[in-house]
């Protein structure tokens, strides 16, 4: 095995080893558990840095895929391995890097909580699952880790299992993700079936490398087949995309993410800001070559992202819980990334994913620090003026806000600009509208983040318990992440600004010859007009927040009264939860009751009849067995004679 593949396996399995060690040996020893978890993450991060140096280094001669045969059933071979190309190494660097910060932060935040060791074991298990998705070489492996992420996130969201709301949130997250996974399962099956049906067992495969070759094949036979079945393949792609929709919390499967804030704040930072929700975006990036040929697929992706970004940004205005604001902001930013994917700019999406991972983790950890400092108070109406008592948290939070709002030169500006540029020149149906929505979302983002910062850090303190600054174990990661949030933009400063720009895009496409991962990707360009529009929107958003909340020149109450129906709609989160509740209570319940009726009155009758017949025959046959050995011997002998005679006659 060459070093790169070895790094891959170390990255993947170090957190799992940590989980196993904690679960088996150190459940009783708090300090040891956290050190094992941090150690596992440190090992993974170290291996990741080494891998990155090789992958992004000058010498680009490396073998990105290492696979072993894992399951072999008939013609179908399912491999297991690690894929160490630019995309996955980039992504795993985010997971391990941000993960490491969050692990350290947790040792401060979780002080005095019950189940400390369980928390770190679950956190390590989650990291393992997430890295599994990132480094996976094929659809089946991805799907397995996809489910593992679901399970470990369930355990972490429901960490406070004595609280009903946390348990419910865990279930909601799991079930909502199951809906997406169901679509994804069918997508994988349909894709594989179509390939087998048209190209035969030999060519069909689950491996990304081999699938990529199929989509780029020059063999006229394959090209013809792929063209003939483009409808089916596009459908399969979109079905796989439903998995990404659920995991990346896109409308209409977004309902789980805000509720998932019931978990401890570092968990929210790790899973619901930096990594887990990015899995969907990552998957689409990984499979971009499957989306690219179909305009309809790209269109659906783009519109889904745009709508999510807009809807979620709206709800963020009416939230009072600081974590909920950040949760809806996450939804909105994920919508941005998906929008970029749909616009054919996966590099921009990955760029925004990277910068967002840093500044959103920073914001979540900052909110965690605020919550911790205010004695577990999450309501922004009971905060205020914290900039004096919590200076480190305040300044790092400000950096995160500036990055999220897209203020130059913070990292968020560059990535958001990349997405808006892609949207402004995109080809999907209704691209100009989507561009407009993107700009509007940029404005809204700046406004609600301004509101959040002003309510939390400025003005007079409105709470009761005396706030205090957090310990170094918490502020340290904040500073690290803040630094990253400032400078992450250099990863992909557009070519128009610097001649060394576009590094990320260049790295993702790589020096490899054709078949590429990202066919038809937009060359990233710097459009001054877009940058100006985006900046103006952001500044105007901040200005609005300032006027409404800081200077109070305009009354927020009269504004709300003026748009009462809209406000109610936002407060009710567009009635999604109510609609789903109605769906479950009426439609699903009816179906379930029908099934129950059929089972009791039809299926059970049939089963009982079979069982009764068998029992009757058994009752008759047992009369033969009267306990006399000689009769048994005779029966056995006749059986043998009959069998031998039958064989003889048969021959």
């Amino acid at each position: 095995m060459e070093p790169l593949a070895l790094y891959g396996y170390i990255i993947l399995f170090a957190p799992l080893v940590a989980t196993a060690l904690i679960t088996c040996f150190t459940l009783k020893h708090k300090a040891v558990s956290s050190w094992i978890a941090i150690g596992g993450m440190l090992v993974a991060f170290g291996a990741n840095v080494l891998a990155a140096m090789q992958v992004f280094g000058a010498d680009a001669s490396f073998e990105p895929v290492h696979e072993i045969e894992w399951l072999s059933v008939g013609h179908v071979m399912i491999p297991f391995g690690v894929q160490m190309d630019a995309l996955s190494v980039m992504m795993s660097l985010i997971v391990t890097g941000v993960g490491l910060c969050i692990f350290v932060f947790s040792t401060g935040y979780m002080k005095g909580e019950d189940g400390w060791s369980r928390y770190f074991a679950c956190l390590s298990l989650f990291s393992f699952s997430m890295l599994g998705i990132v480094l996976s070489t094929n659809l089946i492996q991805t799907f397995i880790f996809w489910e593992l992420v679901g399970v470990s996130s369930y355990a972490l969201i429901g960490y406070y299992f004595h609280k009903d709301s946390a348990v419910d949130a865990g279930k909601k997250a799991f079930l909502t993700n199951r809906i997406g996974d169901f679509g994804m399962t069918w997508g994988i099956i349909l894709l594989f079936y179509t390939l087998v049906d048209t190209l035969g067992w030999e060519r069909a495969s689950f491996s990304y490398e081999k699938l990529k070759l199929l989509y780029h094949a020059s063999d006229p036979l394959i090209v013809q087949v792929m063209a003939d079945h483009s409808g089916t393949l596009a459908l399969a792609t979109l079905l796989i995309f439903t998995g990404a929709v659920a995991k990346s919390a896109q409308v209409p499967l977004h309902v789980w993410l805000p509720d998932a804030m019931e978990g401890p704040t570092p968990v929210s930072a790790l899973m619901h800001a930096a990594t887990m929700v990015a899995a969907g975006v990552f998957l689409v990036c990984r499979l971009f070559f499957m989306f690219a040929p179909y305009e309809i697929a790209l269109g659906v992706v783009a519109w889904m992202g745009g709508i999510t970004a807009l809807l979620a940004a709206g709800v963020a205005f009416v939230q009072h819980d600081i974590k909920k604001v950040l949760a809806y902001s996450t939804l909105s930013q994920l919508g941005y990334m998906v929008l970029a994917l749909g616009m054919g700019a996966p590099a921009a999406a990955m760029f925004h994913l990277t910068t967002h991972a840093f500044f959103k983790a920073l914001l979540f950890l900052g909110s965690g620090s605020v919550i911790y400092g205010c004695h577990h108070e999450q309501d922004m109406r009971k905060m205020g003026g914290l900039r004096k008592t919590m200076p480190v948290t305040f300044w790092t939070f400000m950096i995160g806000t500036a990055a999220l709002a897209g203020i130059a030169p913070f990292s968020g500006f560059w990535s958001k600009d990349a997405i808006l540029s892609a949207a402004s020149v995109g080809h999907v149906p209704g691209a100009p509208i989507l561009y407009g929505m993107g700009v509007l979302v940029a404005l809204m983002t700046a406004a609600y983040m301004g509101r959040c910062v002003i309510l939390t850090f400025f003005g007079e303190y409105r709470g009761h318990a005396k706030p205090h600054e957090s310990p170094v174990s918490m502020t340290g990661p904040l500073v690290v992440l803040a630094t990253a949030s400032v400078f992450a933009g250099v990863l992909s400063i557009p070519k128009g600004i610097s001649e060394h720009g576009g590094w990320l895009e260049h790295a993702l496409v790589g020096a490899t010859t054709a078949p590429v991962w990202f066919p038809g990707m937009h060359e990233e360009v710097f459009l001054p007009s877009v940058a100006i529009v985006g900046t103006v929107a952001a500044l105007f958003g901040l200005f609005l927040a300032y006027m409404f909340y800081a200077k109070k020149a305009w009354s927020i109450d009269s504004f709300v009264a003026a748009v009462k129906p809209l406000h109610t709609l936002l407060e009710k989160k567009y009635y999604f939860d109510e609609a789903y509740l109605w769906l479950v209570a009426n439609v699903q319940q009816t179906i379930a009751e029908t099934c129950g009726f059929i089972e009791v009155h039809v299926l059970r009758r049939i089963v009982d009849a079979v069982a009764g017949t068998t029992r009757w025959f058994g009752g008759q046959v047992r009369l033969l067995l009267d306990g006399h050995l000689h009769r048994y011997v005779t029966l056995a002998l006749f059986g043998a004679v009959v069998i031998i005679a039958a064989v003889l006659v048969g021959n």
Partner: protein, 178 residues
């Protein structure tokens, strides 16, 4: 394959066997069974399987049959009780079963040329021709030992464990109080 060892051994084994299963007195059955085993041993010796032949006499006729005699003695069954108990039953069924089985085997064996005389068959000359040197099986202890302790060591050891288990089991079953 000397014909006379076959006919002598065969008639001893078959006759002894028939008398074994038909005697009313169990002691008589045991004695006739010993005669049958001696006949079997003759047959084995006639087939150059000396080791098995000796084993037959030592283990079967010697050890196992003595065990049978001891048990019969232990049971202390009176001849009249035996007569009353052991009235043969289902003779026709037994005969039919045995006959069906024998007929089947005979049909298989004589149905083809494989086992009977003739080319590639079971005659002395044919066996010699087919197996060459290997047919000069002395049945020597050395060859068998080679087979047992090299190729079949594990089954051999398993058999020793089996015997141990049988000893322990027999003791456990017959002891009045453990």
């Amino acid at each position: 394959m000397d014909p006379w060892t076959f006919w002598l051994g065969g008639s001893l084994a078959l006759g002894g066997g028939l008398l074994t299963v038909t005697r009313k007195n169990a002691v008589a059955s045991v004695l006739w069974l010993i005669v049958a085993f001696l006949g079997m041993s003759t047959l084995f010796l006639g087939m150059d399987a000396g080791f098995i032949g000796v084993l037959q006499i030592l283990v079967y006729a010697g050890a196992i049959m003595i065990l049978f005699l001891f048990v019969i003695m232990l049971l202390n069954l009176t001849p009249s009780g035996l007569l009353r108990m052991d009235r043969p039953r289902g003779t026709t069924l037994g005969l039919a079963s045995a006959a069906a089985f024998i007929a089947l085997i005979v049909a298989i064996v004589t149905g083809g040329q494989q086992w009977t005389g003739g080319q590639g068959g079971g005659s002395e000359a044919a066996i010699l021709e087919r197996t060459g040197e290997a047919s000069m099986l002395e049945g020597s202890v050395l060859d068998i030992a080679d087979q047992l302790f090299n190729a079949h060591l594990l089954p051999f050891e398993a058999a020793s464990v089996l015997l141990l288990v049988a000893i322990v089991g027999a003791v456990a079953l017959t002891k009045r109080k453990l």
